[in-house]
């Protein structure tokens, strides 16, 4: 069951990644993260949060999938 859940979360997460990437790209473009060096400190912090979005989403998916498989192996 754990493997099935892990597979489910992994596949579901992978399918969501393109949507997350598009969202991050749109938000970064709107704020001007890459193009405008004179954005406010708050906007810069938001940009860093957006930057972290996709990597941590992937890490979360892998952690969940690994957790399900790991619990099965106990």
């Amino acid at each position: 069951m754990g493997v099935v859940l892990a597979f489910f979360f992994f596949m579901f997460g992978m399918l969501l990644i393109p949507l997350t990437k598009d969202g991050v790209t749109d938000a970064r473009t709107d704020i001007g993260c890459s193009t405008n060096s004179s954005i406010s400190d708050g906007a810069k912090l938001t940009c860093l949060g957006l930057d972290a979005g996709v990597p941590f989403f992937i890490i979360t998916i892998l952690t969940l999938a690994g957790g399900f498989i790991g619990s099965q192996l106990r």
Binding site: K21, C33, S37, D41, L45, C47, L48, D51
Partner: protein, 761 residues
Amino acid sequence: MKKICKNSSLQPRGKHILVLAILFAVVFLASLSSVKANLNVSLNYPTDNLTVFSSYPVFNISATTTNGATITNFTLYTNESGTFTNVSNVSITNWTLNDPDSTTNPYNFFDMNDTTYAQKTSSPSTSANLGKIFSSSRYVGNVRIKAVATTTTGADGAQTSVVIQTYNGTVWSSVTTLATGTNTATYDNTYALNSMVSGIRVQLNGASGAGASQDHKFYTLDYNETITQTINASVSEGRYLWNAEVCDSNNSCVFAPANYTYIKGNLTLNSFTYNPTTTDLSTENYIANITSDLLTAVTLDYNGTEYTMTNSGNLWSYTKVMQNLSGNKSIRLKYTYNGQNYYSDYYYQNITNVTFSLCDTSLTTKFLNLSYKYENGTVTQASLPSATIYYWLTNQSANKTYTYINTTENKTNYFCSSSPYSLNATYSIQYKNTASPQRIAQETLLLTNTTTNKTLYLLGSTEGIYVTYQVLSSVGDAISGVSVNATRTIDGETVIVGVGTTDSAGSITFWLNPDFLHTLTFAKTGYTTYTLNQFPTQSTYTVTLGTASGVDINDYIRGITYVVKPNFGTTLNVSKLHNFNMTFNSSYWTLDSFGFVIYGDGVEIGANSSTASSGFIFNNLNISSYDHISMKIYWIINGTEVYGKNNGWFTFNYEEGTDWSIWNLFKDFSDYADDGIFGLTQNAVNFIIFMLIFLFVGLASYKFSISSPSVIIGIAFALVFLFDVGLGLINVEVFGATVNNFPTIFIGLILVASVIWEARR
């Protein structure tokens, strides 16, 4: 309105006064606005977001005023101190006196406030000048002039004129005659002067002579001005805003509409080594020692032509062969820094021309003297149907050619040169006289300003025969290009009486004396040199050349070695400009040429070649549009083109697809930290990273009960390596200097010491 009047406490007369007062105010304000000066400021340099490398760069600002106001002050502001602060100031002194011819003239003819054109003065002189001299040269745009020149009595029909003149700081010059007339000239218009001047004035000219009198009337004279001012200011490394405030004589002060950003880049030209003076045909090295962080290419701009310099560490160099160059040439360096091009100051190199030709009054240093004798020792004279002389200094690829024809017979021919150095020269001279058939002399000599004397020998028409030698290979094929040399002994000296190379039929013909022993030498690369001693009594001889021992004449890869960079098979980053180069060496064959052709996805995108037998050739190429790059290497020996093994590279865009990566997160963090975020300094970043490492190592040690110092230091080393080398976030100064990856090296040394210490326990 009626209602207002009914309710108003003002009497009708009072109403009229009020209306008049309002009208007067409106007219007054309108008149004020009509003469209000308009001041505009523009920032010229550094342009927005431009990188400057000087610590004391020039800021260039232009300001324009209209309606007669004058600019009084330029003030430079930057935000380097954290707030926008005045960092430098330049005051502009206005005109210094009214008129050089009439310093006591009380009138200000630059009076735009006077819209009525009231007459300012009348001058009784035959010629009157009124205008202004400025303290510095400035751009004068439209000049508003109203003036009347009149010759009143005593000279009816006299030509009268209104002339506008400009002052260059020394003399006045007439720009144009604005109006002319008989007895009266009137000008009332705006004249577009549009030039940089130190003063302007209007000259009114009437008739002169007995009985003549004039009545010149100036009304007004006005102008717009534009001043371009440079201000030097110290700047610090980083990215800052700048602007300039300009004030005018109406006490109006204006900034440029938008702040500009300048970036103080990290690029220092430590030295630029070259010879300020040199000679034509020499080989010159240009070496720039540059310290920088984002420098990707340096180009030598030599008198307008660009040459890519090769890089080794901080040194960028280029070797240039001077070919047909003379005079003073400009040199500057073009830096490609962070994707943008910047130029150094100009340097100059003076090149002395090197010529070699028949001596004349302008060329008197004798390098070569040709004289002529018969083979029997009698001195004679000769004409030169054709003489071609190649000459060079040390690099034969930098040569010049001198050709000379003289159908008049002379006993001697002197050739002179302007070269301050020794010259290498190869001559091919056809010479003859009326009593002798033509011969050809060919030789390579080292010529100096101590004259080299060469005697060329002729043989009388009745004393010799034409002898043809045909050179064949061992299988009977004619061999072309064989060097043949015919000598004989005259007065105890071995002299050349015939020289040349075989033609496509393998043949060569000499005019020789059959009564004397001659030595003929036949030589060509790949064949055994053959020497023949004979009395040439026959008209034809056949010579067979054997191949050189152990050498296959078709072994065109013998002694050929080459090294190509980048190494074949490596993956190239498409976002960079790549230097494709080849070091080629031929230790056995003398090559016609060698080179390479580079293809991007099968399409030729670059090539380079050399006519030397060995050397270094390169080509800088942008490969961003190609998936695969290949190189065809070739060399040509005796007209035969030989190809090396084709090979190539794959390309990869290392930055593509990294927009959502962890690396991008840390790159943005680093950029924002540089630009400033919540006042975060580098020391604060270092401290945060230290705390992260400290917490992680501490928690890991506690959680997993790690007590080994080596393991704990190993974890710390891994984290320091990640933050320092991997992400580039740690930047530590050691005794005031930045040492790359110092934290990683330091922790690494501690780790090694700890492991050794633990192993020895």
